[in-house]
């Protein structure tokens, strides 16, 4: 469903992605882990072209995103085509990025109205159903500033899901949350995974990754160093860098 091949990306002098290959099959859940600055968020943002990659290719269901290769030459994709692709890809951000001047319900309904072109009644109905799904039916009329971080993130997930995307990208969805609010967000993600949603997740939640992911990809300095089932990456990795990284987690979480 997602096929990343030889993707490179540089910010000025710094090459953030140095030839990344990664694939995610339909209904697969893949967690991207790695130290900060390793390029994992950049890679995720390249998948829906929020960030333009410099070379290589990223295909969604076989379709190249962001560029059009015609006659051996590469051109930027038209805005319209890019939008058509993006609306099939849900994205959840670290800082939720809800629209603060809209209620929870409106946040979820707005893309349905503007992008899917649904009539108001239908958009509202679907938005309500989505909020109910993430356990927030009773907070539909609340503004984001009146919601806890965990609730805001669940609204953000509902907003993405309401578009009925074919895959979901999560960019450190629990990193900005108080520890006791992490669980409610992970619970929603777990149920999504159980329903067969294709998911690519950048996370530091190793426990969640170990239990829910089909595969773990470890990325460091713009390269994927290890990629395999959680058991293998977490316990049998031959990469010293991976073991070192995981050791710091074990050290911190053993008490």
């Amino acid at each position: 469903m997602i096929a990343v091949r030889g993707v490179r990306k540089r910010f000025g002098e710094h090459e953030v992605l140095r030839g990344v290959d990664l694939s995610v099959a339909r209904s697969e859940v893949v967690c991207l882990i790695g130290p900060s600055g390793s390029g994992k968020s950049t890679l995720l943002r390249c998948v829906n072209f929020l960030e333009a990659y410099d070379s290589g290719e990223i295909r969604i269901d076989g379709y190249l995103i962001g560029y059009e290769d015609t006659g051996g030459k590469r051109r930027s994709m038209s805005g319209r085509k890019l939008r058509d692709m993006r609306r099939e890809i849900g994205m959840v951000f670290q800082h939720f990025n809800l629209w603060p001047h809209m209620t929870a319900l409106r946040n979820v309904a707005e893309p349905l109205l503007r992008v899917r072109g649904l009539p108001t009644a239908e958009a509202t109905e679907r938005a309500r159903a989505m909020l109910a799904r993430v356990g927030l039916a009773d907070r539909a009329e609340a503004f984001p500033s009146h919601l806890s971080g965990g609730q805001q993130q669940r609204v953000a997930i509902a907003r993405a899901l309401a578009m009925q995307p074919r895959l979901m990208l999560f960019d450190e969805p629990t990193s900005a949350l108080d520890p006791e609010l992490v669980g409610e967000v992970l619970e929603v993600m777990r149920s999504l995974a159980a329903e067969g949603m294709t998911m690519l997740i950048v996370t530091h939640e190793m426990g969640f990754a170990a239990h829910v992911a089909d595969r773990i990809a470890f990325i460091d300095q713009g390269r994927i160093l290890d990629d395999g089932p959680p058991r293998e990456v977490f316990h049998e990795s031959r990469e010293p860098r991976v073991r070192e990284f995981l050791q710091t987690y074990h050290d911190r979480n053993s008490f």
Partner: protein, 223 residues
């Protein structure tokens, strides 16, 4: 202090105040509209247009209002632009304030967090819808306090219009002072009128601010 003089001149003071309010409100509204248009056009990816608008803003902000007003009123006829004093006054205020309004709105747009725009982009929202539904409301909300502030400043800038003989409050006050030699009374009357106007504007502004930021107030505190 002689109240009989004040009473005698009350009609002309009131008419001056009326002219002041008229010039201020029409000039301010026009300036706000032009400023908003400038702030929007500057965002278009057309470099020559951007330079032109930047230059406009810098020139207006870099020169005294009095000078701009003179050029418009006295210099206008040389370009075939023959304006009455009041029309020149209103247009002058509009021109002058539009540069400041443009900067206020530009700041408002700049204050919209990138994440909110990325969220719109990620669901496939068009640039137009993103502007109208996401950026603009947030930018306008952020702009309300500086807008009220500028409107208050502008209300007092109207005194400059007296120089080109617009019969506004300052003009009437000067007339009264010159005819009756009651400088203090005249200035006192003027102070009262301006203070009244500013008080009303700032109260309305505070109310507008509370209203547009209601979504930030504690839950249940909303009207």
């Amino acid at each position: 202090m002689s109240f009989d003089v004040l009473l005698r001149y009350l009609p002309s003071l009131l008419s001056g105040f009326g002219v002041t309010v008229l010039c201020w409100s029409v000039g301010g509204a026009l300036g706000m509209a032009v400023g908003f248009a400038v702030a929007l056009l500057v965002r278009l990816p057309v470099p020559p247009l951007r330079w032109l608008l930047r230059a406009f803003v810098e020139i207006i902000r870099g020169t005294p209002f009095l000078l701009q007003l003179f050029l418009l009123y006295a210099g206008g006829p040389y370009l075939g632009l023959r304006l009455s004093a009041t029309v020149a006054g209103v247009l002058g205020l509009a021109l002058y304030s539009s540069a400041y309004f443009a900067e206020i709105f530009r700041g408002g747009f700049a204050s919209v967090p990138r994440g909110q725009i990325e969220a719109a982009t990620s669901v496939g929202m068009s640039p137009f819808d993103t502007l109208v539904r996401v950026s603009m409301p947030a930018a306008l909300i952020a702009a309300v306090p500086p807008i009220v502030n500028l409107l208050i400043i502008l209300s007092k800038e109207t005194v400059v219009l007296s120089i080109i003989t617009v019969p506004e409050l300052m003009y009437q006050v000067q007339t009264m002072a010159a005819e009756t030699f009651t400088a203090f009374d005249a200035i006192f009357a003027m102070a009262i009128f301006y203070w009244l106007l500013v008080e009303v504007v700032s109260r309305l502004g505070r109310r507008a601010e509370d209203r547009v930021t209601a979504y930030l107030a504690p839950e249940g505190a909303r009207a």
